[in-house]
Symmetry: D2
Subunit: 271 residues, 4 copies
């Protein structure tokens, strides 16, 4: 399969009044559909960075922001297949009795995804559909139509119930609502945060940002579903997966440093 | 240190209309303060049981409930120290910059614990107190006084915000609210579910049940805090730990079998 | 127009530990489509009853429940037209600039009806429809399909947002959700509580109870809409109207007497 | 009693894309403690104003904002007593059995005040206190300490439950929370919106605005309580009263005109 090449990365500039612990989830690692190279981290004052894996196996980077201004930049090149997300409309659901042990956690309620509250909606809308990939497509379609993408529409504590009610959200909310419906039907679903280029699609966004979408477990593997775009895409590079956005934050700070600047890049380049 | 001995266990009887996947978290394993022996599992029809560890390392037991009535019984003996929960009122908090990587997850928001919502309350009440074990005691005392223990007062979806509002809860709610305040202050805290005997305390409860409490990370280790009882106790046997009750359910079923009977035992015996 | 005749009424039996103020809204008065006669009130010990009108003009009856058991019975005959609810599918909406002063209050948010929260949903679903009676029918149809009638599904504090989320409710919830959408579109809507016979419809309910529905202001008058039944009905007898169920409670008690018994009657009789 | 004199008023400038109905509640009328004179209304283009009273007897002013920019100015002089709010610490509560019929509505739940949810808190904190004015003072003191006055802390849909949880609010939230606790105890309480000068108090506010406070029914009359300031004040001029801020909005518009400018004046003048 032919490949394409991305330049990706981000810069964060924080101003701190006191030393502040911070964890970044911005640097992907090699994965089935993306190979990384020329990875570089740079940080003001050459502060020590500590790289580790979290509970879900996601690569994380810790540092202590000193008093004053600190700028951290991550950059890498990624080689990705020149192909859309995998699709198999005939992929069956795996009954709960057959799910792998380590997948079960993705059937449970979490901070932003409350299948225990929206279960009635899920069963009323999707409970009668034949199980399988196409049912998950129906969920994706529904969420895509239900929510109107609205920049700035949600606050950090907004849950899937909140956005179901208001009908507005950003990409994380599309992911949360889709996850919630899947879990209510006992279909494992998880939250994915990563880079996604505008590649071979009409250039609809002025400002590039990180993206969030959903992975659903069907027929023995995870499949990408993107309720915000409601179509397969090319070039996803996963940074982290988890139960919802509470698990996979770009940056977690223990304190309240001022974010002065944040830029994100993910563009196609020549190899 | 001298020991004491417990007989513990539980029985669940379910009636299912269709084969139903179920996961039980009822069988503890050896732990720093409890040694298990004479462990037995029995289940109607000698159904196969599958034992595994979840994301947090908790022992879990899976089976498929067949159509009809299934009874599962777990029983074991536990040797526990004849000693109250460890206490060190001078134990310091660990600043976030020094926390172990794998403890960080217990500072985040989760399904039932929303430090992102109750942060203002936490800082107003406890933010000015000197960091350390005594501050956590102040939180325990506050939660103990804030909530009135009320059987049947909460529904399965009640969060720490809900019980903070109503002022009523059961042991899981005491644990959730205490966890929430700790996390808001950047103190790692987790939910513990297990067996706890009525041992050397006035016999206040007519019916024995599972119990839930809180563990807080201070000075390089986890400490038990029990906001429901607001005092150290003897004989805790941990079954599972997690971010909150969503992670550590006694039983998770994928379907809606009818729970006909549930009994729990945890009594002192002669060795 | 030919008439039909109803025997209606109710009995409440309370047990009080202390004298308790109580207000009953159970006795209708003459209205455009119902004439009352043979009205009787009876109460244990011939306690004094005080009849008055509330803020909305509804007939209310106050008494003080003494310590012990008190039984109150209301009974009356009503003559109602042998005709279904009025319908005019061509009735136009009245623009807010033309609404009567005293109708404006029914465009505002209230305890159980939050057009300020569900406004996005209302405009997305109904904003593009031509204004008028048929748009209100579309709302009625939507609410009827959205909510599954489920006895015991809601708690006393459940709002239109709550039942929109769960998809389940009883008649008051159907009324609240319909009111909410209308108000979000600047269409005045109010809550009605009253008696409704099972008359000329298949006898679908085993137990008779009070009923709640919606009135909507169109073309200079109020029209009945019943989202629970989603069809015109015969024989409605209005007891009270208000912004929502908080305004129009069958019984409000200032204290917590034990309701031992409640029966409601509304049956067709020969004149 | 000697008098003092205020110049009060406000200006609103709206830009509308279409003719928009609007209701203003900004013009007080004579009341026990304030006499109005030199009242003037001016509006762009000399648009017709329609004055009426709402359900609660509040003076309201309707107009239709035409397409384009409209400026409305209200101004008046008020003579007020040179005296602090009335106080009688020995005033008794009136038992619900003795409350006037038309006061009962102020014991019920409303859009922003949910005594049905916060009842447990109210009874736990204030239920044991002797009934009367001093108990209401204890509520005022509690609310004053519980909420931190925080400009911009609440959104328009924030209820008393929401601000109880976050611990932050503006003057309307202080009023709502105090009302909620009173009603939970069966003490009638209502929301007041009006003008209040900075008179004989340290000048703590840079920008003058409307103010909201609470009136509580004790001993046969309404008394002013101001949980935001937690002290008696001089010079209140009531514009409107109601069950909560949903009833008493400065401006209600049926559409979404752009508020370009709003200024409020309430200053002492020489007679």
């Amino acid at each position: 399969m032919s490949s394409r090449h991305l330049q990706l990365g981000c810069t964060f500039r924080y101003s701190s009044l006191a030393p502040t612990a911070a964890v970044f989830q911005v640097g992907p690692v090699d994965q089935p559909r993306a190979t990384l190279r020329d990875v570089s981290w740079s940080v003001t004052g050459d502060l020590p960075l500590h790289h580790y894996r979290d509970l879900y196996g996601n690569p994380c980077t810790r540092l202590t922001l000193p008093t004053g201004v600190t700028t951290l930049t991550y950059a890498a090149k990624a080689e990705v297949p020149d192909a859309l997300d995998d699709i198999d409309e005939d992929a069956p659901e795996t009954p709960p009795t057959e799910l792998p042990d380590d997948v079960l956690v993705y059937t449970l309620a979490s901070r932003f995804c409350q299948p225990d509250v929206l279960g009635g909606q899920a069963w009323k809308r999707f409970g009668h559909l034949p199980p399988g990939y196409r049912r998950v497509l129906a969920i994706r379609q529904f969420v895509h139509e239900w929510l109107t993408y609205t920049t700035g529409s949600t606050i950090a504590t907004a849950t899937s119930v909140d956005v179901f009610t208001t009908g507005r959200g950003v990409c994380r909310d599309f992911a949360h609502l889709m996850i919630t419906f899947c879990r209510a039907l006992n279909i494992p679903a998880r939250y994915v945060h990563g880079y996604m280029p505008i590649m071979d699609v009409p250039r609809v966004e002025a400002v590039m940002d990180f993206h969030a979408w959903t992975q659903v477990w069907l027929d023995g593997r995870w499949w990408d579903f993107d309720a915000r775009w409601n179509a397969p895409r090319k070039g996803r590079v996963v940074v982290g997966v988890g139960r919802d956005a509470a698990d996979v934050a770009m940056v977690t700070t223990y304190g309240a440093p001022w974010l002065q600047l944040m830029t994100v890049t993910c563009e196609e380049i020549q190899p």
